[in-house]
């Protein structure tokens, strides 16, 4: 049977929308990439070209030599890795207890933990700052990453996942004399790899992108992360770019900060999607 004209029209329309949305989504990223490889003269050229006519690496050279860009990247990576490892450890331990072990006050504790879902770090930066100032940890990576360990979403996702694991697995192990720690380590964790992976990715990305708190506690390149470095030195309202920003170096910095995240995203995409769906839809 031949498709009817209205069906054909509908399909054409849907494809037009699909292509349009895709182009709008990637155009700013392509424009960033294009600008990063243009010399200053070509950037101001009118009409603009999408493909650089005299491609150059001078913008990257400028960014990498004038700023401690590598150091910011390393700080970001370290903070994100340590934060992710700590969150996985602390959250999986606590979530297992909340999901499976019976103890006095467990309901109340869990309710208190969940209540903090509505309290973002934005509204606690003042007391947090005073806390880290009191122990003289301002301008250290520890200050940047430690608050991320008090994560609520991870507890929520993992508890939900643990609860859905059939009890028979644990009971068999318990009869064989396994302790709760052995059950957590040998049974619950291996069975929960997808959930752990999702928590890891959510934590890593939110730490990697974290801005306001690191902005408050980093004063120097020793603890400055990529988002903070870019925000402070390449933004419109501040920093080295001055009143007439040179967009070549700015876009080179933006590209350098973005490429690793996009590569990781493309490789781990299924986990990203599942992680977001899990944090959103309660497993």
């Amino acid at each position: 049977m031949k498709p009817s004209p209205t069906r054909m029209l509908r399909r054409v329309l849907l494809y037009a929308l699909l292509i349009g949305a895709t182009l709008l989504a990637i155009a700013p990223l392509l424009w960033m990439t294009s600008t990063a490889f243009k010399p200053e003269g070509e950037i101001q050229q009118y009409p603009p070209h999408w493909i650089p006519q005299t491609p150059t690496l001078e913008n990257f050279q400028y960014v990498l030599t004038k700023f401690a860009f590598g150091r910011w990247g390393l700080n970001s990576l370290l903070a994100a890795l340590v934060s992710t490892a700590l969150v996985l450890l602390l959250d999986s331990l606590a979530a297992y207890a909340f999901a499976r072990l019976e103890f006095r006050g467990s309901q109340l504790l869990y309710a208190i933990v969940l209540s903090m879902l509505m309290v973002p770090i934005q509204v606690t930066i003042v007391p947090l700052y005073l806390e880290f100032a009191a122990v003289r940890l301002i301008d250290t990576l520890a200050a940047v990453l430690l608050p991320t360990t008090a994560n609520v979403t991870g507890i929520f996702i993992l508890r939900q996942f643990f609860r859905n694991i059939p009890r028979e697995f644990e009971e068999a192990a318990r009869i064989d004399g396994a302790t709760p720690f052995q059950i957590w380590w040998r049974i619950m964790l291996p069975l929960s790899r997808p959930a752990l992976m999702s928590v890891a990715i959510i934590t890593f990305i939110s730490s990697w992108n974290n801005f306001l708190w690191p902005l408050v506690v980093s004063y120097s390149d020793a603890s400055r992360t990529l988002p903070v470095g870019i925000g402070q030195f390449f933004g419109g309202a501040s920093g080295a770019s001055g009143s007439a920003p040179q967009f070549g170096p700015v876009m080179a910095a933006a590209l350098l900060a973005t490429v690793p995240a996009i590569i990781v995203f493309l490789i781990l995409q299924p986990y990203f999607v599942r992680g977001i769906a899990m944090s959103g839809l309660k497993g």
């Binding site: 895709t22 606590a94 019976e102 934005q122 003042v126 903070v228 419109g236 700015v250 876009m251 959103g280």
Partner: protein, 292 residues
């Protein structure tokens, strides 16, 4: 093993499991959330010894014109971003859920901006919106629109940062809706079609009700996140021009970390928190949570 021995061992172990997390939680989340309120009752300054001033900070806030501007601007930003974020998120999810070639590529592309860090989003759009050489004004000039000073004009600055925000986060909502759509049984939609319902009726009476849990989550996260906007605005306009994009978190940051009035800043934070809680409560009333 006797039952009693097993039980006595079982009483301490669970606490060992939760203890490490609870220490972090208390030090970095719960404690600060409580301490924030106490600090808001003082005139804490970076220098000098703080003393308790009761609710004076809150009283001052009531008559603080900049605070009022920041509240109005935040509401304006939410109005400009939240409805399109939810609606476009849903429409895009429906679009990439169709049996079309290249839908996986489209889905990946639309979500991609979300993995770009907020400050990079800010600098990218600073350049896109540039008045003289920005790509947006170039394309607008092709259809006869004169160059717009997007981020340096008080009328267009907020729409500008809103467009950037929409581009950055709409893919996130799309993914949640998409996960919700995958839970909608195909048979139900087909049954409605067999009964003669048109596509719109199927969507309205079958798909949309089954999407309630996803919608609830999307609306909640969108409200929370748009209310807390800071990063991209800090980079794109710094709250300007003439306070046109000064939002509440930016005002909190300015007070606490630029003017160094920590007690006053904490009061701003607590009002922000009260608004967040109120938003959540209102949403719970208005939107059905569905069963998730």
């Amino acid at each position: 093993m006797t039952p009693s021995r097993k039980k006595s061992r079982g009483t301490l172990t669970p606490y060992l499991f939760v203890l490490p997390y609870l220490i972090a939680f208390t030090l970095f989340r719960f404690g600060p959330a409580i301490a924030g309120f106490l600090i808001s009752l003082t005139n804490w300054n970076i220098l000098g010894t703080p003393s308790i001033v009761g609710l004076k900070n809150y009283q001052l806030l009531l008559s603080d014109p900049q605070f009022r501007i920041s509240l109005i601007n935040t509401a304006y930003f939410m109005l400009l971003t939240a409805p399109p974020l939810v609606l476009l998120g849903l429409l895009l999810a429906l679009l990439v859920d169709q049996q079309l070639h290249g839908r996986v590529i489209a889905r990946t592309a639309i979500f991609m901006p979300y993995v770009v860090m907020s400050t990079v989003v800010g600098v990218i759009w600073l350049w896109v919106f540039n008045k003289e050489s920005g790509i947006l004004n170039y394309y607008l000039s092709l259809v006869g629109i004169r160059p717009i000073a997007w981020l340096t004009n008080t009328d267009t600055a907020m729409p500008g940062v809103s467009i950037a925000t929409l581009w950055w986060t709409v893919g996130f909502n799309m993914i949640i809706f998409l996960a919700g759509l995958q839970d909608v049984p195909q048979e139900l939609e087909d049954a409605a079609r067999v009964d003669g319902a048109n596509e719109l009726a199927v969507f309205r009476h079958v798909t949309l009700p089954l999407l309630a849990p996803a919608t609830f989550v999307v609306v909640m996260l969108t409200l929370i996140n748009t209310f807390q906007v800071f990063d991209q605005i800090y980079v794109m306009t710094g709250g300007g021009p003439s306070l046109a994009t000064l939002t509440i978190i930016q005002y909190l940051y300015n007070q606490a970390f630029e003017s160094h009035v920590l007690g006053y800043g904490s009061a701003v934070a607590y009002i922000a928190l009260a608004v967040l809680v109120a938003l959540a409560l209102i949403q719970r009333r208005v939107l059905p949570e569905g069963e998730a």
